[in-house]
């Protein structure tokens, strides 16, 4: 039995004429211990799929089974416990609480579990050691570099020893060096037998994955198994295919992928990443 089983899941946003189909009868099975990279243009439904797997969102139609149980139909409290104990989230925008220091941020999931303050601090401190930030325990997120903040976020995701890590474009706001550090962390997590779901725009990052899923317009259009260490073939192909569609697609937001062809990525220009984010935001609006 697969760890995660998505069966013909659809997700609708909005009502009536304004309704958009974010997921269109998607089916997917994920085995325990897989490292999956999910690729696709902005607005293709990658994040929606991840949110449903993480029980942050519910599918409109279809079923989602985690360990053979209908996780999407759990009551909110049970879903909260599931997120707390089984799933670790890493976001593109980090999502640390700015008012708490690094240690307390990492310890927060333990607090919701009811652990004592001393144990919480100790465990959080150990976890920060793993991501190499123990000496920054009492810093606030605003005092750290973005790469460090993301490592703190990863520590927080790992603190309750979840078996599934959902990372939604974790390197989207990072430069190439920080990206590499973060990806090595994910690689470590995977090697310890955890399941990692990674959403990315960057074909380079498919090196870390053993399986790459391509999505477009709410559907899975490709499912490729690759060797860890190799860039997935489809990643490049999908790029060039998008490229041919020209103007219309630029408006639609596929331009985001164009900014990330490997050659440019290797130069590591932080400005590019910024403008890419803005375009994505724009394109998301225009789509709605």
């Amino acid at each position: 039995m697969a760890l995660i089983e998505i069966k013909e899941v659809s997700k609708l946003f909005g009502f009536g004429d304004a309704a958009t189909l974010a997921l269109d009868e998607v089916s997917l099975a994920v085995e325990k211990g897989e490292f999956i990279a999910v690729m696709g243009p902005s607005g293709c439904g990658k994040s929606t799929l991840m949110n449903i797997i993480g029980t942050l969102d519910k599918p409109t139609y279809g079923s989602y089974l985690l360990d053979g149980r209908h996780a999407s139909r759990f009551k909110s409290t049970r879903q909260a416990r599931l997120r707390r104990d089984r799933i670790g989230f890493v976001f593109q925008s980090f999502n640390l609480l700015p008012r708490l220091n690094v240690l307390d941020n990492v310890a927060l999931p333990l607090a919701y579990r009811g652990a004592s303050t001393v144990r919480r601090r100790k465990q959080a401190s150990d976890m920060l050691e793993v991501v190499g930030l123990r000496e920054r325990e009492y810093f606030y997120p605003g005092q750290l570099s973005q790469g460090q903040v993301q490592r703190v976020a990863i520590a927080r995701a790992l603190i309750n020893k979840p078996s599934i890590i959902i990372a939604d474009e974790p390197t989207g706001n990072l430069d190439s060096i920080d990206s590499r550090v973060v990806m090595e962390l994910f690689s470590d997590i995977h090697r310890q037998g955890n399941t990692v779901l990674l959403v990315t725009h960057n074909p380079e990052l498919t090196r870390y994955a053993a399986r790459v899923i391509y999505m477009q317009d709410g559907r899975i259009i490709g499912d490729e198994r690759t060797q860890i260490g190799d860039i997935a073939k489809g990643a490049r192909v999908s790029h060039y295919r998008k490229h041919k569609k020209t103007d219309e697609d630029i408006v639609a937001g596929v331009s985001a992928l164009m900014g990330k062809i490997p050659a440019k990525e290797l130069q590591g220009q932080p400005k590019k990443t910024k403008s890419r984010g803005r375009k994505r935001a724009l394109s998301r609006k225009s789509k709605k």
């Binding site: 942050l56 909110s76 909260a80 707390r84 609480l97 008012r99 919701y112």
Partner: protein, 409 residues
């Protein structure tokens, strides 16, 4: 349910917006301050009245001019007849004699109000009780005489006076003016004794503040007023502890003498206390109710701020939910924040009203008394206000769907 960590988190987030928290608390602070101050003023007034009544012994019955109170069937006081306070005195010296002759009565003394003005060597005052009475007053007084003594049967033929402590200060500028002369309506009276100061005050149930009293012999008083008397009350000392019997005897005798017209009132000390205390109590309750409105406004302002806070922190709520906070835990977080605001506000309010009380004691004649029950009640009420008015915003926060909250919608 609440861990220490929850409270720490709440403190942290309140500290993060210090000024806003302070403004939010202001409503509660003002509300608690006004309620506590007013209640303690009322409480202080009651104690002052109680203290004054204790200036006389508990075995003393007071006969008043006019039918001041109406009684129900059981003999309890139903209502107070205000107009009876305005009439001229219906009591006479004959009444005093009649009462004094009763078997259950040990002594009866008139309190004959002469004037309110007197002059001494160092100054004069127009706000005194110059009262004619008999030497037996000394037995009824529960108050120590600090210097000299009360006039007795022999000396009461002379022009002598026994004065209160503040009279000594006002007219002579010293605490022991025994032997000096006080001038009342042109006649000289020699100071024979000075009463020890009491915790007297403004409202006097005995219709006499002994601190500003000048007692002169009844005959001298009648001489001053050319035989006319204005007996405010007759104080009666009972022989036995059966006060009710004494009250009954006095009542029957006077009714006979007044030709069955009940234009007088026989009151026990405790009844006087109840009348005065009841009046002060109801006024206090009334003003407190008005002040409590500001508590309500304070509560609404807490709700307001919590509502804004929930909206502003939507993303934070989303993050917390994403990493495993249950609805209940989010609810608690905001409830704790709201009640923390109001507890701290309530405590500050109590401190402020303590300061106000101190200032009132220093600069006015009022003696407000804050009691522990009042303080506990204030804290309990402010906690209740905080929780009640935080419920709605906290529920809103708790029920947000995690994905909507994360998007900051």
């Amino acid at each position: 349910m609440f861990g220490s960590g929850d409270i720490k988190t709440a403190i942290a987030s309140l500290r993060a917006s210090r000024l806003r928290s302070l403004f939010t608390m202001l409503g509660i602070i003002i509300g608690v301050t006004s309620v506590v101050t007013i209640v303690s003023l009322g409480e202080g007034l009651k104690q002052q009245i109680g203290g004054q009544i204790k200036q006389l012994g508990s075995d003393v019955v007071s006969v008043r001019s006019g039918k001041l109170v109406s009684r129900g069937n059981s003999g309890d006081i139903n209502s107070v007849n205000l107009l009876a306070f305005l009439s001229t005195s219906t009591l006479t010296n004959d009444d005093v004699d009649t009462i004094a002759k009763l078997s259950s009565v040990q002594a009866a003394v008139p309190i004959n109000f002469v004037t309110s003005s007197a002059k001494g060597s160092a100054g004069s005052s127009d706000n005194l009780f110059v009262e004619g009475t008999t030497y037996q007053m000394a037995d009824l007084l529960h108050q120590k005489i600090e210097f000299g003594d009360f006039f007795d049967q022999d000396t009461s033929d002379n022009n002598v006076a026994v004065i209160g402590s503040s009279v000594a200060h006002q007219l002579f500028g010293e605490i022991n003016p025994v032997g000096q002369t006080v001038q009342i309506q042109g006649s000289d009276f020699i100071v024979h004794g000075v009463l020890a100061p009491t915790n007297g005050g403004l409202a006097s149930v005995a219709e006499t503040d002994f601190n500003s009293a000048v007692f002169i012999p009844q005959q001298a008083a009648l001489d001053l007023t050319k035989g006319k008397s204005n007996i405010l009350q007759i104080l009666v000392k009972s022989k036995s502890d059966h006060l009710d019997q004494t009250v009954q005897d006095v009542h029957t005798a006077l009714l006979k003498k007044h030709k069955s017209q009940e234009d007088f009132t026989v009151l026990k000390q405790t009844e006087l206390l109840n009348i005065a205390g009841g009046t002060v109590g109801s006024v206090t309750r009334f003003i407190s109710a008005i002040a409590a409105v500001s508590l309500l406004v304070g509560g609404v302002s807490i709700m307001d701020i919590m509502w804004v806070s929930v909206s502003e922190r939507t993303r934070e709520i989303g993050i917390r939910k994403a990493i495993g906070a249950t609805n209940r835990q989010i609810l608690n977080q905001f409830l704790i924040e709201g009640s923390l605001l109001s507890i701290v506000g309530g405590l500050i309010g109590i401190i402020v009203s303590l300061i106000i009380n101190g200032l009132l004691r220093l600069y006015t004649g009022l003696e407000p008394a804050i009691t522990v029950p009042i303080m506990i009640l204030a804290v309990v009420i402010s906690v209740a206000v905080g929780i009640i008015f935080s419920v709605a915003p906290a529920l809103k926060a708790a029920r947000k769907r995690p994905i909507d909250a994360l998007r900051g919608e």
